[in-house]
Amino acid sequence: MKVQFLIYFSMSIFLFSPRQADAQEVQSTDEIQKLREQIEQLKNESAAHKQGTSKFLLRGYAHSGLQVTDESFSFIGGAFNPIFIYKQSDRLLFESELEFELEDGNLGIGLEYANMSYLLSKNLTLRAGKFLVPFGIFVPNLHPAWINRFPTAPLGVGHDGIVPSNDIGVELRGGSYLGNLKINYSVYAVNGSQLNDGQEDAEEGGILHHAVFPDNNRGKTIGGRLGFFPFSNSSLELGVSGMYGTVGAKSSKLEDINALHYAFDLSFVKSLPSLSSVLDLKAQYSGTKVDEAAYPDPEDPTNFVTFDNNSSAWFAQVSIRPALIDNKFFRNLEFAARYSTLKTPEGAAWEVDETQIDLGVNYWIDWRTLLKFSYRISSSAEEDHVEPEHDEIAGNAFFVHWALGF
């Protein structure tokens, strides 16, 4: 018993010895002090990197490639598009895209867009400046090289197409719910397209030029787009767009000539677990109707000719990517096909009736970087049709392109 008591007694002396406790205390106060200093240092460091309310993103994309046709075997493209995005506050956004492109051996610089958006409410944004016109879906949503599944734009769409691309003006846009139906909308006023009167080059009489500055008249072009999502999972969007305004130059014979552009679009994107794939369908029909007018006859410019100045273009594309399978190589592969047509007025010197089928295999390196291999089959209804200005849209061709978004 005594022995036990002695053991307990000596243990308690050992455990509760004041010298031991003192030593521990000193050590822990030292540690606390050190930690305090570290926290203070971290605080200072993080304060130095503290985000302000204004935020900035410098992004963009680049692309180039190889084009093989009957006549040429050349590397083409070589474009670099930086995009500047400034979030000034929770309500104010500025976006701008420049385009640096090689054109006939020279560097061409373009301002794709530069505009500010102010969020007026939960469902409405005011945009002002130069913007991508919300007409159909290709130009505003699909044109960047890392989004477009093909190396080229569909017929009739793009910089020299019949479809308006970008313009200067003001716009109200937004999205909302009608009960359970999701919708989006946009109304805008812009300078609008300009009608070529054929005075300089009779062969171009009746062509509408887009994104030309300054405006050639006082009338503004108004337009809008309405989009619906019939399914609650937003997989399908159907849209209708319209744009109407004066296109003739002020104080010219054509000053009262107006043009109507209209478009219908469809987008359907859905995961198909049964095929372990993601299916992506996009389509757009665009039409243009210009009031009747007389243009110089290209055969004899002292005479005038007239024709129904109506044009149309449409495309439908499908792509499928087995993104849900385990094999890394196959899940980055994508198969794509596109059909596109362009019809310009019968009887015009620039009459075109073209169809293209593009078949492609793409390999995705990351979500914004891909290699595109595609083959294009072109056919024209006109035996003696005028060759389009850009050889990019004429003839069969094989392309290898790369596009990188950053």
């Binding site: 993103l57 995005i85 809008g224 319209g242 987008s267």
Partner: protein, 89 residues
């Protein structure tokens, strides 16, 4: 062409009545959806869905505001998506 002017006026009236009814419709399916679900449904409609890991919180703030305008997202959709991206990056 008078017809077209009447038609465009009609379209504008319809659009704004949509906006009005949209604003007043308080409860809809979107309010029940999580940020992750809205991200999964909306961010692949035009391009591949970016992984949340792509950007920092501050970069997502700017990118999602850009997309809110581009894709016509509502305020609550954009807020939920950005919150999701910031917790999952």
């Amino acid at each position: 062409m008078k017809k077209i002017q009447i038609l465009s006026f009609f379209i504008i009236v319809v659009v704004f009545s949509f906006i009005y009814t949209g604003c007043s419709a308080r409860s809809n399916i979107a309010t029940a959806k999580s940020g992750a679900q809205l991200w999964g449904e909306n961010c692949l409609r035009c391009h591949n869905t970016p992984s949340p890991k792509t950007f920092s919180d501050a970069e997502w703030d700017a990118a999602v505001l850009h997309m809110r305008v581009r894709a016509n997202l509502t305020a609550s959709e954009a807020t939920k998506i950005v919150e999701f991206l910031k917790t999952a990056n």
